[in-house]
């Protein structure tokens, strides 16, 4: 019998490719003898070549394709025809289409394989069918505040459930290892830039943090990033006293992907926003202190693995929409103070206990990443009272886990904070009870409060999308005889029972 042939398609950016590695590892664990190939942009090739979970990296040269297209040349057509032909010759048994993109949908259609997981093309190639899991993720994005599922796990669970140990656990491990070995030299990397300015910590704050680190510890700093980010590095150097500048090496725009990987594996810590460099560091097992603000939400795209720290700015309006042009009060970029980052690094570096007086960290939460049965979650380090958003968010996470058929406890409620007292407790109870009623009626219009309506959105979107797919003619749905309705009911029940359980528990505690 010939070995199973599997193709994973990932045409998105480098960060997304890194976030796909745990999926590859899982496939390897489930199908140890299968041939696992990945189709990706040529620039990502060095990252995966030689990786134990991958047999072959099939590069698609997107730069060449765009060159051909800009020339208006039919060579673009020939390039894709050639690619499709060579992929067809491989006669794949299984394709994982993990991008919500017409490009990979059309490629998956062209390959005419027996099974597509993830975004599955319809039988005519014109549309796409989401699996229940991807439909659920799509629904959660309707109210991102409540989303507690990381993109890495979105990808990972596209492969069938596995009871085998996955490769990633060794790579993303480092459970409670002290990141600082006593050996010298001490090296911290800073990634100053990020694709959107609203996700970027002010360079003045990076400068102030750098000065402090150089002053208090005998260490060197590395500035990582692409060429376009050089002005940030230069600004940081200008802001430092001259004597300190020689302690900073600016590598912005000077590293290939392989060199970036080499440099990262030498540092003891990376301080960064939500960036591709962050995902790469987490993948390499380098401890990360991530600074999340604006549209960045650690639950969605935080560093994967155990023991990474995230400082998350949490104004009322977070997380904001990525595409929003401007923000009247971009105050969230200022909320994480350099002292806060310094305190976390001090804890990591010298082993000093963190001062966890939450009043001293207004508007900011410090999270530590933890792996549970579903994947990564983020445990708050500052004791704050339970909030409605928190509880419902965790309930949605639990429901997602059920949808996947995974058993196992999530983070216990007492790890998300404490039960508030007095009238705030009463309000929380009332809100939760109303929400349960609304859930049972299944009509978000009856939820008076905007926050309740928002909390209903993911469930409503999930049910609506399932119903839409159920109405498609069966001729368009290849090998799919799913009973779409049951998933909606299952999620609803799970949400109700989680909230009911916690409420009962809380009321017991309150007595």
């Amino acid at each position: 019998m010939r070995a199973l042939r599997i193709l994973v398609m990932q045409l998105a950016r480098l960060g997304d490719l890194v976030q796909t590695i745990p999926l590859l590892s899982r496939l390897r664990a489930i199908y140890p003898t299968a041939r696992v190939n990945i189709l990706t942009d040529r620039i990502g090739e060095p990252l995966l070549t030689g990786h134990p979970a991958v047999d072959e990296v099939i590069p698609i040269d997107l730069a060449r394709l765009s060159h051909h297209l800009n020339q208006g040349s039919w060579m673009a057509y020939q390039q894709i025809t050639g690619l499709v032909k060579s992929l067809q010759q491989q006669r794949y048994d299984l394709v994982l289409n993990i991008n919500f993109s017409s490009l990979t949908r059309l490629l998956a259609y062209l390959l005419q394989v027996p099974q597509v997981l993830g975004y599955q093309p319809t039988a005519d190639g014109r549309g796409v069918i989401r699996s229940p899991w991807l439909t659920y993720i799509y629904a959660l994005v309707h109210a991102r505040r409540f989303n507690r599922i990381n993109l890495v796990d979105v990808f990972r669970h596209l492969a069938p459930a596995s009871s085998f140990p996955e490769l990633h656990q060794s790579l993303f491990g480092r459970e409670d290892q002290p990141p600082w070995s006593t050996s010298e030299p001490r090296l911290i990397a800073l990634q100053l830039g990020s694709r959107h300015s609203r996700r970027r910590w002010p360079v003045a704050f990076y400068a102030s943090l750098s000065q402090r680190l150089i002053q208090e510890y005998d260490l060197r700093l590395l500035l990582l990033g692409i060429k376009d980010e050089c002005p940030l590095g230069e600004a940081l150097l200008r802001a430092l006293p001259i004597a300190y500048r020689e302690r900073v090496s600016n590598l912005q725009g000077r590293t290939s992907l392989a060199e970036l990987r080499d440099w990262l594996s030498q540092v003891q810590l990376l301080v960064t926003g939500d960036t591709g460099t962050m995902h790469l560091a987490a993948y390499l097992g380098v401890p990360v202190l991530a600074l999340f603000m604006g549209p960045a939400l650690c639950f969605e795209t935080g560093p994967y693995g155990n023991g990474h720290y995230v400082l998350q700015a949490e104004p009322d309006c977070h997380p904001c929409a990525e595409a929003k042009d401007s923000c009247d009060h971009a105050g969230c970029r200022q909320m994480i103070r350099p002292e806060m980052a310094a305190a976390v690094i001090d804890h990591l570096l010298a082993g000093n206990p963190l001062s966890l007086d939450s009043a001293a960290w207004p508007g900011v939460q410090l999270y530590r990443s933890e792996i549970d049965a579903l994947g990564v979650n983020y445990r708050p380090q500052l004791a704050r009272p339970w909030t409605f958003v928190n509880l419902v968010g965790q309930a949605y996470r639990q429901a997602g886990q059920k949808l996947l058929g995974i058993d196992g406890p999530g983070l216990p409620p007492n790890s998300w904070g404490y039960l508030p007292s007095g009238s705030r407790r009463e309000m929380l109870f009332r809100k939760l009870e109303t929400f349960q009623q609304v859930l049972r009626q299944g009509n978000s219009q009856t939820a008076g409060e905007p926050e309740l309506r928002e909390a209903m959105l993911p469930l409503a979107a999930f049910q609506q999308q399932l119903r839409r797919q159920a109405q498609w003619p069966s001729s368009l749905l290849p090998n799919s005889n799913a009973d779409w309705d049951q998933y909606g009911a299952q999620v609803k029940d799970s949400l109700c029972s989680s909230l009911q359980g916690w409420l009962a528990q809380a009321k017991g505690m309150g007595k």
Binding site: G72, W74, Y77, Q78, L103
Partner: protein, 603 residues
């Protein structure tokens, strides 16, 4: 030997190609040579005179004297030939001297009227764009009446002379043949709304890539806002809010579509702020003001800011534009879409429903209500909105005064023996004696091969030969006589309608106009179209370039080889289809998706 023959003989020696062209020019009737009060000939284009109607010679001498003296050997270029009064005296004082005349017709008439030999002998007459070998720098003098007629041609010449670093005509004339991306902005409603659709079709047929931003769907909201409040100011405020929102939508669309040109029709929801914002993004903005400037005065805000303000009226509008500081304007009359407006075979039922001896399609303006009351003894049907059903005309108004779609208009035009075309006027009782521009109905009726009676308009002779291609009236009495006569002679009706249709198809389609418009826009903003790789080729050209075993080759083999294709065009056709995608279809969609992703900056 006449003056003309003498001039032509010398020109045949000095510039033979030009001589050949001028010998074959057919001068349209609105170019006229008339006598000034002092008996000297002067040239009129339409209603505009190029010289003083009293004493053109004295006027010309005064003009020449008023110019700053030339330094020795300084080349002189004069824009505008006219009949020579203004530049004659420079023959003695300037060397070299060149006279650049943009219009072949003017040059031809000058050749017939004036002894040009002193100018021709020194190769001093240049016509059209034949000026790229003139010495630079040079003194440039402008004959103002010519400038008003030919703003664009002047800007081209001025730019060429002012910038010795500018490369030759290859870049300056880059418009024709190169596909542009054009975003057409429609109004929310009204007469110019269908014109926006016709323009979009015409740009695409010319090989450009045009898309219409359709604001029709916002019209119900606009009307609904009007009804919200009884206080007019409140309604106005609400409607302005909607228009602001639409402005934002236009910007979003423009940012995504990245057009070379925004082509806006009269009443389109654009204000000067939005226009500036579009221009800041490097987009050229042209506005086709298909309105009467005396009635609609919002041109005062828009005309100064757009890259090209195209108008359907000439003087005194030009003077008003200049007074408002507008430099980039040009004349672009209306036209028709012969694929929409065409002769139709109607069923007997349709003939009964839409037919009558006399018909009018249009809105019930005051002057029409008055004139039509004198026609109620005919078999008369009135179609369109804004009529008073309770007036004496009530029994003649069809469909309870509902708006008539272009499709139904075509049927009515075809079914009616005589179509009335009375231009609207809110200012005049009855027939406007000073009407100048032609409405679209003139061209639409002609394109249908329908017979029309139209009130006399100043511009009419330059589009149709009165009496041969079109029949006119100036009074109600004359109109009644014409109706009686042409109802009695159907074969004469048909002959005139047929000639009228031929003329329109030959000269007055939106394709003709818009090709000209792109040249005008380029002339008003010389050499500034962005460079872009061509995206449209014909299927035949593409097939020649493909290797034999390409699946694309067999796929495209079923298509018309003369069709132009672009990746986007192919992809749109495939996406609109049904059924399983074939491999070439899926690959074409893939490439188009990828290209769009590149344009949005997402890849």
């Amino acid at each position: 030997m006449s003056i003309y023959e003498k001039n032509l003989a010398i020109l045949r020696i000095t510039r033979p190609a030009l001589a050949e062209r001028l010998a074959h020019v057919v001068v349209p009737p609105h170019f006229q040579v008339v006598q000034a009060r002092n008996g000297q000939p002067i040239l009129k284009i339409g209603e505009v005179s190029l010289h003083s109607p009293y004493d053109p010679a004295v006027e010309g001498q005064r003009w020449a004297k008023a110019q700053e003296p030339l330094s020795a050997g300084e080349p002189l270029v004069i824009f505008g030939l006219g009949l020579g009064y203004h530049w004659q005296s420079f023959l003695d004082t300037a060397d070299p001297l060149y006279v650049v005349e943009p219009s072949l017709e003017v040059a031809r008439l000058a050749l017939e009227q004036v002894d040009l030999t002193p100018l021709l002998e020194r190769q001093g007459l240049r016509v059209g764009r034949d000026f790229y070998d003139l010495p630079r720098p040079a003194r440039l003098l402008v004959h103002q009446p010519t400038l008003r007629q030919q703003r664009g041609a002047y800007r081209r010449l001025e730019r060429w002379l002012a910038d010795p670093g500018q490369p030759g005509p290859a870049t300056g004339d880059a418009v024709p043949g190169r596909p542009l991306k054009i975003l057409v902005i429609s109004p929310l409603y009204g007469g110019s709304y269908p014109i926006a659709q016709y323009c979009t079709r015409a740009f695409n047929r010319l090989g450009h890539q045009a898309e219409m931003l359709d604001h029709g769907p916002f019209f119900p909201a606009y009307q609904a806002l009007e009804r919200i409040s009884r206080t007019p100011q409140h309604g106005l405020g609400l409607k302005q809010g909607l228009l602001r929102l639409i402005s934002e939508a236009i910007l979003v669309k423009a940012a995504e579509y990245q057009p070379d040109l925004v082509w806006a029709l009269a009443q389109a929801p654009l204000d000067s702020k939005l226009i500036e914002a579009l221009k800041d993004r490097g987009i050229r903005v042209a506005y086709w003001f298909v309105e009467d400037f005396r009635v609609m005065t919002y041109w005062q805000e828009l005309a100064p800011v757009v890259d090209a303000f195209l108008v359907i009226q000439e003087e005194p509008f030009y003077q008003a534009l200049e007074k408002a500081g507008v430099e980039k304007y040009a004349f672009l009359p209306l036209a028709t879409d012969p694929e929409i407006f065409r002769p139709l075979e109607l069923s007997p039922a349709e003939k009964r429903r839409f037919g009558s001896a006399l018909a009018f399609v249009g809105a019930g303006y005051l002057n029409r209500r008055q004139v039509f009351q004198g026609l109620t003894d005919f078999d008369f049907k009135i179609w369109g909105s804004d009529w008073d059903l309770k007036s004496p005309l009530g029994p003649y108004i069809q469909c309870q005064g509902a708006r008539i779609s272009p499709e139904d208009s075509v049927k009515i035009f075809n079914a009616s023996r005589i179509n009335l075309n009375l231009h609207s006027s809110p200012f005049h009782q009855g027939i406007n004696p000073e009407g100048d521009y032609l409405n679209p109905r003139v061209f639409d009726l002609a394109a249908c091969g329908a017979f029309q009676l139209v009130d006399w308009r100043g511009q009419l002779p330059r589009f149709f030969k009165p009496g041969e291609e079109i029949v006119t009236f100036t009074t109600v009495e004359e109109l009644r006589q014409q109706i009686d006569y042409y109802l009695a002679y159907p074969e004469e009706r048909e002959a005139i309608a047929c000639r009228s249709r031929e003329r329109v198809r030959r000269e007055h389609t939106y394709e003709h106009r818009l090709a000209q418009a792109l040249t005008l826009i380029e002339e008003l903003n010389p050499g500034t179209w962005p460079t872009r790789q061509p995206t449209a080729t014909t299927i035949g050209q593409l097939l020649n370039r493909l290797p034999d075993d390409s699946s694309l080759k067999s796929y495209l083999g079923h298509w018309e080889p003369t069709d132009t294709v672009s990746l986007e065009g192919l992809a749109n056709r495939i996406a609109q289809g049904q059924g399983k995608l074939s491999e070439p279809e899926a690959i074409i969609l893939f490439l188009n998706e990828f290209r769009q992703g590149l344009q949005r900056g997402q890849l």
